[in-house]
């Protein structure tokens, strides 16, 4: 009878209410993670879980995004910017009690970079001397790679060039250490298929430990008892839900199944905003939505045509109508205020100038226009933006642009093979630095995809900026380089992304930031702040 009564009571309590009572955060995580091996996984949902189970040498402060101590309690950078020495926290422990040592990092980075590992994020370690050569199989001797354990607690890293954002990279999971004995217990170091990350096997060094992993249902982690900073971890646990369908996720939030949603359905954003609902959090995100222009094919090989297309786009109108005012118009590739860096603004909505440039290019009032095709991957928002721009170009310049939607992988294939004239693209920065956007457009950049190539630009991005003596000087070089890039207009910037979440009022210590970066150590639940829906 008593059990029945309990059951009846339990049924009435929502996840959020129970979570607030028990100190457990119920977290909408977007998708089922591919896995939990830091050197294998690639996506955002994986990142959120991996960073609860593991910790890097340095972590990002969620309020400032500046690095702060993680496994390393301090670090020094040599005057020439080429040597970084990390001092590991003597209290840093693996979840089985083993100490985290400098040797763990040397072994783990070898694994992360090993050519047979197939780590798609190995490039995060490329600033380390000889790391790229080792990862691409040109160098076999790992001892020549710039990472050394001077003793158990001192890790010395030699860089191939000064890399001002290097410490930030230590918070990326591909640079994390993994527990060697655990991995070797289940197979070779570079075997991707072993079950070492399963609940019963995994050993991590983060603030939480894995307790349950039900495929496509939930992943539950609990506060670690061995984590060096455990006294400051306020949550007792987190439950991650694979909320692939954004409408389902929003409904789960509304009925109290979730504290936090990964995103908000686009058509619901204006509803929450107009209501002034404080649970809806919209903030700038380090990403740019833009169109690639294939500068190798006519008529886009003419700079004036590229400028005309870009000038004729009324971005503000596009944002206000199609995007419900959720995102911010973009006029260059780097998002504004990327750790204090502001990109140049060369363009604005200017139909007169656009017409004039198009006429100069040989298409006065659209006469003789050969037609251009715009490719985007199948998605309602991409379609709406493309249709709106198509109409803007028609109205302003009297030119026809046809639209082709392609299934995701077909679209990726088209972009990869430069088999397009205009293609939709989005880019999210890997770290908070303009370099994460600007180094895409160096001549042989894997994500350049426009045919843009400028030796002077490469020189500035690859050699001058890294050697800059101060942040101001570096930003000045970036600004000049980005101006050169935008003068050629190989892309049409459209908007800067924003992150959108629904957050229950009881959730504290989870500030919005440019990286949408979450450090669970800072999060706590305040049941008294509970508000009605």
């Amino acid at each position: 009878m008593f059990t029945l009564l309990l059951l009846a009571c339990g049924a009435g309590e929502s996840n959020v209410e129970r979570g607030n009572r028990e100190g457990v955060l119920h977290f909408g995580n977007g998708a089922e993670p591919q896995g939990l091996d830091p050197h294998v996984v690639t996506g955002v949902p994986e990142n959120k879980i991996v960073r609860a189970l593991f910790e890097g040498l340095a972590v990002k402060n969620p309020y400032t995004l500046e690095p702060e101590p993680g496994v390393a309690q301090s670090w020094e950078i040599s005057d020439d910017g080429l040597t970084v020495t990390f001092h590991l926290n003597p209290e840093a422990r693996w979840s089985n009690g083993d100490p985290v040592t400098a040797g763990d990092y040397v072994w783990s980075w070898r694994r992360a970079l090993h050519p047979t590992m197939g780590n798609q994020n190995a490039y995060m370690l490329y600033p380390v001397n000889n790391a790229e050569a080792f990862a691409t199989g040109k160098l076999e001797d790992f001892s020549k790679v710039g990472v050394k354990a001077l003793d158990e607690r001192t890790l010395q890293v030699t860089l191939k060039a000064p890399t001002p954002y290097f410490i930030q990279l230590m918070d990326h999971y591909s640079t994390f250490a993994v527990h060697r004995p655990t991995i070797e217990r289940f197979g070779a170091a570079t075997d991707r298929f072993t079950p070492w990350t399963r609940v019963e096997n995994i050993v991590g060094n983060g603030p939480f430990v894995l307790k349950e992993w039900k495929l496509n249902r939930r992943i539950r982690v609990e506060k670690s008892t061995t984590y060096w900073d455990r006294d400051n971890v306020k949550l007792n646990g987190v439950v991650y839900y694979p909320t692939e369908n954004t409408s389902t996720e929003e409904r789960m939030f509304r009925v109290g199944q979730l504290h936090y949603t990964q995103t908000v359905p686009l058509d619901k954003m204006p509803v929450y905003r107009e209501r002034g609902d404080s649970r809806y959090v919209n903030s700038p995100y380090l990403g740019t939505y833009y169109y690639l222009l294939n500068t190798g094919v006519a008529p886009l090989n003419d700079r004036r045509v590229r400028w005309a297309l870009s000038l004729a786009a009324d971005r503000q109108k596009l944002m206000d109508s199609v995007m419900y005012g959720v995102n911010v118009p973009a006029y260059s590739i780097t998002p504004p205020n990327t750790l204090g860096y502001y990109p140049p603004k060369l363009i604005d909505h200017d139909v007169e100038r656009a017409r004039q440039l198009l006429a100069e290019a040989g298409f006065p009032n659209g006469e003789g226009w050969p037609g251009v095709d715009l490719v985007y991957n199948t998605h309602e928002a991409h379609r709406k933006i493309a249709v709106a721009l198509q109409q803007m170009w028609k109205d302003a310049l009297n030119i026809e642009v046809t639209l082709s939607n392609q299934e995701w992988k077909v679209y990726l294939n088209s972009v990869d093979n430069m088999d397009f004239q205009i293609a939709r693209r989005g880019w999210i920065g890997d770290y908070v630095d303009a370099n994460s956007f600007l180094d895409m457009f160096v001549c042989d950049g894997g994500n350049n995809s426009t045919g843009f190539c400028d030796a002077k630009y490469d020189e500035m991005i690859l050699r001058e900026a890294p050697r800059a003596k101060s942040r101001e000087e570096r930003y000045r070089i970036f600004h000049e380089a980005e101006t050169r890039l935008m003068e050629q207009m190989p892309i049409i910037p459209i908007y800067t992304y924003t992150s959108n979440h629904l957050v229950h009022p009881s959730v504290k210590g989870l500030p919005p930031n440019l990286m949408d970066s979450l450090n669970l150590k800072y999060v706590w639940l305040d049941a008294s702040a509970e508000a009605g829906p």
């Binding site: 294998v40 990862a135 691409t136 839900y241 692939e244 992988k409 294939n413 894997g446």
Partner: protein, 310 residues
């Protein structure tokens, strides 16, 4: 009878082999590969990944190797979820989808069958038109519309039932089963009506009525068995259809079933997963078709006789 089953099983082998072969080569023709992503993958990394999945071998060698693994029941490692095998992923999703499908068909047969029988008793009257119009709406109403409507009403406004999950909260299986079952209920209603109409015009029914049996006995004891024949024939393929076609319902309700894997595998170019689920589901379709044939034979004395002779 056993000979019939044996022959049908033997016939199934070339069918399934053809499905494997066509699927194997078709997915390779599709543009884009499993390792393509928004960020370009370094060529050396891509090569290493391809080697780990045997994609560096000539296509025919990959094909024969796959068949070899398949013969041992190994569907290979998933591309999308490294560290998990396709067998494991199917095993995790199948029981859930099968349970969902079972409830959905149960609802379909109970509600649809009842509606069909009621309609057939007085054809071309209101008693016929009302359930049949409802059935037509059921067929036309897609689950991506019905699901959210049910969710809004019962989940959000009335707060009677959970809005997502499977077996986590009490009552969370009800709405998905109704959503998935409604389309099938509509089909069952139309099939059972047609079947019943045909049977009710037969001589033996007239005989039964002439003997003075009450109408409910005529329907339940004599007509129902023959009238439901088309429904039984439909159930086998329907169950296989439910297993492979529950994607939309699973997505709306956040159910960790097989349907999601099946559809997403194609988008992800998860070659082994596409093949694994296709092979698995086509085998099921063949088996369920056979099963419904056997069931139909068992219910139909004429066919039963043929089998026992043959």
């Amino acid at each position: 009878m056993w000979r019939f089953v044996g022959i049908r099983l033997l016939q199934a082998i070339p069918v399934i082999l053809a499905v494997i072969t066509v699927t194997f080569f078709l997915v390779r023709v599709a543009p884009g590969g499993p390792f393509d992503g928004e960020k370009a993958v370094v060529p050396e990394v891509k090569a290493a990944l391809e080697a780990q999945y045997r994609l560096d071998l000539p296509l025919w060698q990959q094909y024969t190797a796959y068949l070899g693994d398949l013969a041992q029941g190994d569907l290979g490692p998933s591309f999308k979820y490294p560290g998990r095998s396709v067998n494991e992923l199917i095993a995790s999703g199948l029981p859930i989808t099968a349970e969902l499908g079972f409830y959905a068909l149960l609802i379909a047969v109970l509600i649809g069958g009842l509606a069909g029988v009621i309609a057939s008793l007085k054809p071309n009257t209101a008693q016929d038109y009302i359930p049949m119009s409802a059935a037509m709406i059921g067929i036309c109403m897609p689950s991506f519309l019905l699901g959210p409507i049910l969710l809004l009403v019962f989940g959000i406004y009335l707060e009677w039932l959970p809005v997502s999950g499977w077996g986590d909260l009490p009552g969370d299986k009800i709405l998905p089963a109704i959503t998935l079952g409604s389309t099938y209920a509509a089909y069952v209603a139309r099939l059972s009506r047609a079947g019943m109409l045909e049977v009710l015009s037969q001589d033996y029914i007239r005989t039964a009525r002439a003997k003075g049996l009450p109408e409910w006995q005529v329907v339940v004891r004599h007509a129902l068995r023959g009238g439901m024949m088309p429904v039984v024939a439909f159930l086998g393929p329907a169950f296989a259809g439910v297993l492979s076609g529950s994607f939309v319902v699973e997505t709306i309700f956040g159910i960790p079933g097989l349907g999601r894997f099946y559809v997403q595998a194609a988008f992800n170019r998860d070659y082994t997963m596409i093949l694994g689920t296709t092979v698995f589901l086509s085998t099921l379709i063949v088996l369920f078709n056979l099963l419904s044939d056997i069931l139909a034979a068992w219910m139909n004395p004429r066919l039963r006789q043929q089998f026992s002779k043959g």
